[in-house]
Symmetry: C4
Subunit: 283 residues, 4 copies
């Protein structure tokens, strides 16, 4: 198991090509946010937008549209009951995220199944939060597991892998990952990442980040990094590292760090990483 370092972040944050446009940086489509958990998808969206995703669209309960636009007019919204339009929009994505605030009812399950069925061979898909539980209780099939990232916390990982908390050892986790074929971002106070070929541990993080919505923000950051950066495994690792790096930095002055405060700092911390990236190359 490799510990992530600052280099894992800075190697990913390349200077953007001069001749580029928003299409160069991907189109993310996020699915989640029911009547009760609308805040979750809003937090994911803020993270995805502020990482620099070219275009971000959000498929969510109509109820959440106004709050989302009040915070962030940069994102587009679609009422998640409009099945045909939902289906069309999914097709335009380069990266999909489903789960934050999605809920556990039958409509949520239908949306998950739609996403799983429609995923194309070029699309990456992040499965987070209640979508992990929904997946675990369904007998769904992953069409492109090698393009899928699960971001469970330990209880969700138990549902997904069948491993009780006390059995979630590195070896057992890796074996479960092998069966699924997808990348696993196992969130805890020291997050671990399991891919087919490698294991990573995030050495950063602070208990000031132990507050609701932190995972939604991380899911949005991973989505945004997958949208822009070519090396997907490296992008996932970099997003995980950056999330905690910002949290630690903010935590020096705050007893608790809010997820939306993390998001606001993303562009600044990515710039710092880019500057190091440039210097390293200059050598």
């Amino acid at each position: 198991m490799k510990d992530l370092t600052r280099d894992d972040l800075t190697a990913v944050i390349q200077p953007r090509p001069q001749e580029s446009h928003k299409g160069t940086f991907g189109r993310a489509v996020l699915v989640g946010g029911n009547a009760t958990y609308g805040g979750a998808i809003i937090m994911s969206t803020e993270a995805a937008v502020r990482t620099g995703t070219g275009l971000v669209s959000v498929i969510t309960a109509k109820h959440n549209h106004s709050a989302l636009h009040a915070r962030l007019p940069e994102a587009m919204v679609l009422d998640w009951t409009l099945t045909r339009a939902v289906s069309e929009l999914l097709g335009t994505a380069t990266v999909l995220l489903i789960g934050p605030g999605l809920g556990l009812d039958s409509h949520s399950q239908q949306l998950l199944q739609l996403v799983l069925q429609q995923q194309t061979s070029t699309q990456w898909l992040v499965i987070d939060g209640s979508a992990i539980s929904l997946f675990a209780q369904s007998d769904s099939h992953l069409n492109y597991p090698e393009h899928i990232v699960f971001t469970p916390h330990q209880m969700e990982w138990q549902r997904l892998s069948g491993l009780k908390l006390t059995h979630q050892t590195i070896d057992n986790n890796q074996a479960a990952q092998k069966k699924l074929g997808a990348t696993i971002v196992l969130k805890s106070h020291r997050t671990e990442i399991y891919t087919t070929n490698e294991q990573y541990r995030n050495p950063l993080g602070t208990p000031a980040m132990a507050t609701g919505g932190m995972g939604d923000t991380l899911a949005g950051m991973i989505t945004g990094f997958l949208a822009q950066f070519p090396d997907k495994e490296a992008a996932i690792c970099a997003a995980v590292y950056l999330h905690s790096q910002i949290g630690e930095e903010l935590g020096k002055k705050r007893y608790v760090v809010l997820p939306t405060e993390i998001s606001q700092q993303i562009p600044r911390f990515m710039k710092l990483a880019e500057n190091i990236n440039k210097k390293t190359k200059g050598k």
Copy 2:
């Protein structure tokens, strides 16, 4: 009657355990906010979230959901007419707050009765604002008065205790507290706290804080402190002190201090208190 001091705050604000997650810091469920007083429950929610409560859910009129999410996606919301879901959500709480902007109609009374009946022996319950008046005019019974905090201003205390303003002396207040069995946070320009064993006076506070919503913010802070810190009496005192400490500090540069401005400063002031806590222990 003991005057609260900075030590009463710093003793409470322990460094968070490294191996923790949002569940470590409690789950608060807040009930309030009708069509007219929705701002009150929003202000309580901001305070509860920013003190570092692990998870915060808000049971409020649907009308208020969008504004709450626009300000604070970190909180979850539930339409307060969905009785069954309300009842289930109450059961998940470690701390309950009822009252800010609750109103005085029959639905408000029903919600209060539901909360009083459902309170379990491990849950703390803060009763604020119109819920105090509703309680006073009902013949309700407190199941676990030793886990209940009332936060009346002087008129509400009159309704609750039967003591007219001119009779609200320390001795009379203490006698009324004994009858109720609950902790009383009696708000005024020098707030007093009555518990079964002790009396405290808050020496801080500034007339710059004399503006609508200040009490809603305080109620949210007490809720958040009860959610996280093990010594409940000390937690209540610390929240009262911190609220005024921030108000005084902001009041040095402002003729009036808004309740939401207090909330924004909570994480920073808690960090300062934690730093003193660490130093003191280091000695």
Copy 3:
């Protein structure tokens, strides 16, 4: 005609009494904001809250409640179609403001008539924006003109006084004021104030403030000053001066100053004025 000076501001901004509560600083009820002009009443509300009014309630189209709470949970809201509740709420006010974004239809006229009829001998009433035009085209009677402030711009003053723009000389304006009996705040790039006994001119102001909503903000500030300060004529003059003082100061760094930016600075500038007030008294 007297030019307003800094002393006219600082003499009004007394230190607040230590033993005070929100009731000490008045209760303002604001009426306005239809489906199109909701922003106007929001801007007035922000100004009234930030001047330090004890309690602020807003009677407005339901459509505007969510946006208002999203910006400012400190204010209470009431759907302006609920006639009985509206009537009751008006009765609780120490100061009333009607007009910002009120519109010109029959419902707006009914609200104005309700306010005019219900005004009590102790309530101050500010009549702004479309309420001035509505008043001019009605044959309404002012019950307590000595407690009324009109805040017209020059076109509205023409409607109210019958004076064409070219005839709006000091003498003609004063004669029109005498007939009305109310205080007139005649807004222009150098605002003039006409009371029964005196005339004032505001020497401050910058074209950076020439943007929609500036008058709504001023109306809210006058309302907030009337709510708190005992000398009403002085309070009106002070609010007018402060509005432009903040605008000029912000205008040094901005080509245009938004009304909501003025409001955000009110508490800070009032504190500066209070500090001068204290020093002056100390001599």
Copy 4:
């Protein structure tokens, strides 16, 4: 083709006349924002307000009103299904903008046709986003092409001009402009402006600006500049330059710059330009 320089900006940003009021700085009416793309018209509105337009009204889906007011009470809103009121409001404008988030359905087309038919000889009209595509697929006629600005990106320009991306050379673009008779702001990483008499290239811009909504913000800035400044060709050039100037400056500290962050800086950067304008004249 002339490269734009800082002088093209500072020459336009004149000090405002002392004796002015909001009417002096124009009235902009913006049309756009359907249920999915409401954020686009919100971003245009923020840009138009912050450039200093005297009055800004927004004709948009009712769905978007609350979010718009939550962010920016300075703008007025009108439900775009109220055809008669829409038609009246269009008549009051000095500048019109149609397109951001307008969508492509029949109602969007009707609104575009209404705007094209109602444009008067004194009104300027900016046609952006989906309105360009709608125009291209209709057989509409431009009544006052000399008062029209199209702001296409390269794909929209293909639809409008019939020129495929590889054929979009300066000469071909100029020939297409001649046929249309309108000013063309052809957006790319180096935006070009084609008028009847001149061609300009914007040398500024950064890939940090390659994110959704940047064009909506630019359209709002052009609209605001047309509303206030007498030399319209110069105003368009200045708005294009300023947009990128702010983006470059913010991009020094951020890996990605959000459109709404650009808008927030407009008043400050316009002030800097005005200061240079004054100094230049002082010589």
